[in-house]
């Protein structure tokens, strides 16, 4: 009989060792899913075994989009419901994402990287470090060039800030150079990458940053 007295020592610590976990958050429509679609191509080229967890606010649209995109085995994409609150599921109570990521670790023994996509949120969104090792925040130029100046916790605290849709800058009256300069300024020089996830421009730099931050050390 298996009893409490003869169990092995309990696992402790804040995060078990498995695949590296990278969060990608940001406002609705900033291009999180598009970034992941492009990243999956780069990661596949580098033979990095990857899985994705999405946290759609409603339905599983982002998960379905990634499954149908052809850049990843559809079985490696899980959708976790956000319970009407995209903040909670990645920060205050990340347990449902933790068990989903644990499940992926058990299913795919070769897994090196699990990307956890937040539901569309606002500038106050941040990832719990109980859930992820490192995280990206995605904003876009069409959301306004004043976003970095607003100094939201997502913009300030993320490990990498991605400014997406740079091709739209001239069409929405945004001075891209100034926006990027202000982004670097409020982040005290920590990394900022400007991308166009529709064309794939600069997505390789994001893949490089992920590899450098969470894969090289493993």
């Amino acid at each position: 009989m298996d009893t409490i007295d003869n169990i092995p020592a309990a696992e402790t610590g804040t995060k078990p060792l498995g695949a590296a976990r990278v969060g990608i958050g940001g406002p609705v429509g900033s291009g999180k899913t598009a970034l992941i679609e492009q990243l999956l191509v780069h990661l596949a080229k580098r033979s990095i075994s990857t899985a994705v967890i999405t946290n759609d606010l409603v339905t599983a649209e982002d998960a379905e989009r990634l499954r149908k995109g052809g850049a990843i085995d559809p079985a490696r994409v899980l959708a976790v419901e956000a319970g009407a609150c995209p903040h909670t599921v990645i920060r205050e109570d990340p347990t449902l994402n933790i068990i989903a990521a644990d499940q992926l670790d058990r299913l795919y023994r070769d897994l090196e990287l699990t990307i956890i996509e937040s539901g569309g949120d606002n500038l106050a969104s941040t990832f719990s470090l109980d859930l992820v090792d490192w995280w990206i925040f995605v904003i876009d130029v069409a959301g306004g060039d004043d976003i970095p100046r607003k100094r939201g916790p997502g913009v300030l605290q993320c490990d990498l800030l991605v400014v997406n849709k740079v091709d739209l800058a001239p069409h929405v009256g945004v001075d891209l150079g100034r926006m990027l300069e202000e982004a670097r300024s409020v982040r005290d020089g920590r990394p900022v990458v400007a991308t166009n996830c529709r064309s794939g421009e600069n997505v390789a730099a994001v893949a490089d940053a992920i590899a450098e931050a969470v894969l090289v050390a493993r």
């Binding site: 009989m1 009893t3 606010l57 409603v58 419901e81 319970g83 449902l96 068990i99």
Partner: protein, 229 residues
């Protein structure tokens, strides 16, 4: 109040708190399906009746009984797993069944990281498909090992049902946050009534709440869903 009693109450407050990471925020227990089932946004009476039925016809006769039996099984994890499976098999509605498992396993994940005795061992059983990890059984397993009495565990379980249901009602914007709090006392009073009735040794797990289960099944078919069930 002596220090030990105060410490016990504070432990219960910590672990029954909706801020405790357990995954419960993502489950509406079918409440999200209620509006489309009745054709109108539910108000305080409809929500109160819905939660009341959950308490009387599901929690009191099913979850509470499973929790008490699992608590009394103590360190005999084979027996705990039997009760776990029985509760799982007796839950007819798939999304409620899966919800209880996922919620239980989410809570277990937190306690595995804490190193709570029994948590890692029971998760290994779930990984090996020799246990299911339903929420009430996981409650019994973990809370007993935190030194809480069976009666306290039952009360905390009932509180969790009421609290998470009304939180879901607020997030669905069926009622306001203040209104939700005003709805709590009579529902908690009902929980207290059942919590004060000891579960008989031969009590069977026998939940039957067709309206709530139909609402949960209806929720599973919604094109737009905010909650897991």
């Amino acid at each position: 109040m002596n220090e030990d009693n105060a410490a016990t109450i504070l432990t219960a407050l910590q672990h029954a708190d909706s801020n405790f990471p357990s995954g419960s925020f993502a489950f509406s227990q079918g409440l999200e399906g209620l509006a489309s089932l009745t054709g109108k946004r539910p108000g305080t009476d409809e929500i109160t009746n819905f939660v009341r039925e959950q308490i009387v016809h599901r929690w009191a006769s099913s979850d509470r009984v499973a929790l008490a039996h699992a608590y009394r099984a103590g360190d005999d994890l084979d027996r705990v797993a039997e009760i776990d499976e029985e509760l799982d098999l007796s839950t007819f509605c798939e999304t409620l069944r899966e919800g209880s498992r996922r919620n239980g396993q989410a809570l277990l994940a937190t306690h595995v990281r804490f190193g709570t005795p029994g948590a890692a061992s029971y998760r290994q059983r779930i990984d090996r498909d020799t246990a299911t990890g339903t929420l009430p059984v996981v409650h019994a397993l973990l809370w007993r090992r935190l030194g809480l009495a069976e009666e306290a565990c039952v009360a905390m379980s009932g509180y969790g049902l009421v609290s998470s249901s009304l939180t879901a009602a607020v997030r669905l914007n069926f009622v306001g946050a203040l209104t939700a709090q005003s709805m709590m006392p009579p529902l908690l009073s009902l929980v207290a009534t059942y919590a004060g009735e000891p579960v008989a040794e031969d009590a069977e797990i026998c939940g039957f709440n067709p309206f709530g289960e139909i609402a949960a099944m209806n929720q599973a078919g919604l094109a737009l869903r905010l909650f897991s069930n």
